[in-house]
């Protein structure tokens, strides 16, 4: 086997990054807490205000950011392997488009604000179903390339639908819809966290269970078939699971781009190329990065906040350029 030390170092770095990002995210804000105060507040001791800030605002916010980041990165890692494409990510495959259509319809239709996530989720699921149907009708088989193209088509269609809906919407709901499309974990509550955690545990767990099939799918159709994998069925299953995982994050936090695309590339080589490890590593790295991104989003121009999606995109570009350089 490979020497164990680099691998231990890699996993410890990921864990340490997540813990560090979490502590900074919990400690920094309008009310800055020292490590000691932070510890007391988490344990429910000491200053009542600090305890309330911690329990009701910062902890759920950090937890939600971590979950969203983990789920998006896991989804991206699985999709890149399944579709054999380094550019595959949940948002390229119709999920974000569908979710945005659902959310915009909910906002423009003046649905109660609590129903916007439900609308987003319904839109994302509808997009996934539509992609599968198009892939099946168009080529007779949902093979990776066809899925990818169908996803792009559905995404383009969703963009058109959003433009039409926004163009005919009153200004205040346009603003609401736009804010949602830029992504944010500002309104995080424990209810959000619990829902997403349960959901991510089921969908993410299923992805991990079937991850060895993704290893084989990544070799290509012919080789995968020779290794006893039903290529179409396995590909569809991984696509649906990964997309549902991303759909849940969209419902909880709006559109947060780039995490699902960039994070898997950061960890792939060092996690050892097998998808169980790659997906777990991507989850840890994605969680750490999104907690850090949210910290930047809310502190850099405090008291107002930057959209989380803008921060991840800005941070993602240099990561991606560095990756391109390594390909040279």
């Amino acid at each position: 086997m490979t020497p164990g030390t680099p691998r231990v170092a890699f996993w410890s770095t990921l864990a340490a990054a997540l813990v560090l990002a979490g502590l900074l995210g919990l400690g920094i804000g309008p009310v800055r807490l020292t490590p000691a105060e932070l510890w007391d507040a988490l344990a429910g001791r000491g200053d009542v205000t600090a305890v309330a800030i911690m329990r009701d605002i910062r902890a759920p916010r950090v937890a939600l950011a971590a979950l969203v980041g983990a789920a998006l990165a896991m989804s991206g890692a699985a999709l890149q392997g399944t579709l054999r494409n380094a550019l595959a990510e949940p948002y390229l495959l119709g999920v974000s488009g569908g979710a945005a259509v659902g959310a915009v319809i909910a906002v423009v239709g003046r649905a109660p604000f609590g129903l916007v996530p439900a609308g987003a989720f319904a839109g994302a699921v509808a997009a996934v179903i539509l992609v599968l149907a198009i892939a099946r009708a168009g080529a007779g088989r949902p093979d990776p390339r066809v899925l990818l193209m169908a996803g792009v088509v559905v995404g383009a269609f969703a963009n058109a639908a959003i433009m039409v809906a926004l163009a005919s919407a009153p200004p205040d709901s346009t603003r609401n819809a736009l804010w949602w499309m830029m992504g944010s974990v500002a309104g995080a509550t424990w209810v959000h966290v619990r829902w997403l955690a349960a959901y991510a545990a089921v969908a993410g767990g299923a992805l991990l269970l079937w991850a060895p099939e993704i290893d084989v799918l990544a070799l290509g159709d012919e080789a995968a078939a020779g290794l006893g994998v039903d290529v179409n069925r396995a590909g569809r299953r991984a696509y649906v699971l990964a997309s549902l995982l991303a759909a849940a994050t969209v419902a909880a936090a709006g559109l947060v781009g780039f995490v699902g695309l960039v994070v898997p590339h950061l960890v792939r080589a060092r996690a050892g190329h097998r998808h169980r490890a790659v997906i777990v590593a991507a989850g840890l790295a994605g969680a750490a990065l999104l907690v850090a991104a949210d910290l930047v989003a809310r502190t850099i121009r405090a008291p107002s906040e930057l959209p989380l999606g803008a921060v991840t995109a800005l941070a993602g570009v240099p990561f991606f350029l560095a990756q391109l350089r390594r390909l040279r």
Partner: protein, 262 residues
């Protein structure tokens, strides 16, 4: 053992069947070669064997069981395939890549594969890839990559090994080495079925040859039976002579210069 019996395969919307009435056997301990011009149906037979295209009539059996009714994993435990081309989407460590050959033996819920590490070690030794198992798949030469792919197929521990054009992109020495490896595997009671354009290699190494022409068997039998000048000229539609390999006496094909004769 793989047996094709009167196999017909038809692609959707095609006027003519891609292969028709093809019958032959690939026995354990022997190298069986499928040869023929481009588009004669060689790769279609491999696809049909894997269940990637349906068999319209006739049957393909592996160890007596019809492949169309066989579970895919079960089939993969009996037949290992090295396809024409393969490029992993992301580079893998060679050892990890070879270990993927164990996939048909693994259960979804458990990592248990008691004979797995032995099979992998044996495959690495037999395909002689020990020198580069810690490299990644994008750091190999064409010859090394071909050996690594064969090692992955060997780790599958199937009784039959199917190779589609295993010597494409290989130089003379690596071509010979690849066929010597197949010969050694056949001696260990593997059934080897190889699709190849390299008639001279086939003549020296194969125990039997199936020559396809436009989807039907033009000739089959020992290399000496199949590699006759008149037969090959008709099938390849090119002037040629068949001589004797001075070293081993196997038939050797020599295509002639000249215009295509119709």
């Amino acid at each position: 053992m793989i047996r094709f019996r009167d196999v017909e395969v038809r692609y959707p919307n095609a006027v003519h069947p891609a292969v028709n009435g093809v019958s032959f056997e690939a026995l354990r301990g022997r190298i069986t070669a499928i040869a023929g011009p481009n588009g004669s149906g060689k790769s279609t037979l491999v696809r049909a064997l894997l269940g990637r295209v349906p068999v319209a009539s006739g049957s393909i059996t592996v160890d007596g069981a019809d492949v169309s009714r066989m579970d895919r994993r079960e089939l993969a435990r009996r037949v290992a395939v090295v396809g024409q081309r393969e490029e992993p989407a992301f580079p893998l460590r060679v050892r990890d890549y070879i270990a993927l050959g164990r996939h048909p033996h693994l259960q979804l819920w458990s990592a248990a594969d008691p004979t797995g590490s032995d099979a992998i070690a044996r495959a690495i030794e037999e395909a002689e890839v020990g020198a580069f198992i810690d490299r990644t798949t994008d750091e190999l030469s064409g010859g090394e990559w071909q050996r690594v792919r064969i090692a992955r197929a060997l780790a599958q521990e199937a009784g039959a090994l199917v190779l589609d054009e295993p010597t494409t992109y290989l130089d003379v020495a690596h071509e010979m080495a690849a066929f010597e490896l197949l010969d050694a595997l056949a001696r260990r009671a593997q059934a080897i079925l190889v699709v190849s354009h390299q008639l001279n290699l086939v003549a020296r190494f194969a125990h039997s040859v199936v020559l396809l022409h436009r989807g039907v068997v033009a000739a089959s039998g020992s290399p000496t039976d199949v590699m006759r000048g008149d037969v090959l000229e008709r099938v390849y539609e090119w002037p040629l002579v068949v001589t004797r390999d001075p070293a081993v006496g196997a038939p050797a094909l020599l295509p002639l210069r000249g215009r295509r004769r119709l």
